[in-house]
């Protein structure tokens, strides 16, 4: 998969996760805070994956072009 496509897919998943986070925070931030925190963790890990993809892309590019 191309790096840009992978990043688009990750961001799309993040937007979906955000919707659920928004719902839990609005509906009942006491009862659903554990779900909210798990979703936040997923979101944070997805951001880290974006960073990893950019890093891999950067290293590959620097190997080719120096």
């Amino acid at each position: 998969m191309k790096s840009t496509t992978a990043i688009f897919v990750i961001v799309a998943i993040q937007l979906l996760v955000d919707l659920f986070m928004w719902y839990f925070a609005i509906e009942n931030p006491f009862k659903y805070q554990a779900y909210w925190a798990v979703l936040l963790a997923i979101n944070v890990i997805l951001v880290s994956l974006v960073m990893l993809i950019i890093l891999r892309y950067y290293i590959k590019r620097s190997e080719i072009y120096g």
């Binding site: 554990a34 925190a37 944070v44 290293i59």
Partner: protein, 400 residues
Amino acid sequence: MAAEEPNEYRIEKLWEEEGAPEGSYNIPLRSISKKELRIDYWTGAFLVAAFGYLAFSGIMVFLYYQQGSPYLSSQAIILGVPLGHVILTSHLYMAYAMVILVYVHMFRNYFKGAYRGKWRWLQWITGVLLFILVNTIAILGYLLQETYISVAATHVMELLIERSVVGRLFPALANWVVGILIGNGTTGAAFGHILALHVTAVGALIMLLIGVHFFLFEKSGPHGINEEEEEKLVKKKEKNIPWFPANALYTGFVSLVFIGIVLIFSALFMQHLQTGYGVLTYGELPFPDWYIMPVYKLMDLAGYGLSTGGVPLVTLFFVFLFIVPFIDRYKESGPLQRPMITAFGVFFLIALPVMALWGYTQPGLTQTRMLTMYMWWGITFVSFLTVYAMKFAKKDLDVS
């Protein structure tokens, strides 16, 4: 007076080097080889990430914490603040993670001999200071809850300061330190002082020392990548990759995964606040936090108690850590090539969990001097025997 230059409103121009003094836009951080993109070289980055998250979640909690009624305000954060329970829990678990990581980071560098080298001794000493400060800030945070056990711990700390050798020799100094810790002893003053120490004084010291520690790391580079390996990399024409973006991205990646994992743990196992101070309960045995447990049990050992043994033993542990770079005279730097140093490390690795487990199974039960001696010599024997056995086994293997 020269005419003023007109205002520039195109923000993107800010990044242009034109007209700026030479070197202004170079990030003065060390470039790395690809070999270094390994998690075990990044234990320090995890600690900085943990500290960053603790500062962030700490500010969130700080907005609601009241030094006049600490326990009730902690309860209010859990019961009355939206998402408060999970933020408070993640603050606690990240603090636990930071204490574990500070041990991992220290022991990794201890066994690898990373304190050996031109400026590395100084990096090690700032590291030991950070190790002490991280434990101090963790304990101060634990005192802030005003639980039954934390108030008891505050009294123990007072006694430790007053009845220690230093306290007996310099009582005015001891009074002054107690005054810094708890003020005049009323709830408001005591928790105000502890809060100020936890949030500002110790926090600021940690930030300052992290800066010095990191500067020294940049100066010396990562330990373990020696000149031979670097020469090989040069021969292969592998160039180092600059700090930005490679190093920054990798640090961001590992830090965020780590924060995510701690958040998941916080969501799955929400914090249960222990019994508050002054509440009448039966059949409940309050335990201190796990990282205090070894010291807690050390105080029970007969003849090695609060004022005579426990405190000097803990002090000795830290003194040993401080002087390690100066007493390690081995020529080679592998763990088995420095057997005496490694054996001491193994001793601490065994002694710390043993003391903690002993504390959980027999809290507050005074031990006989004989049992204490059996245990210390037992651990000493096991640690030295294993290290030297491995050293000789390796020697035999190398010969054959």
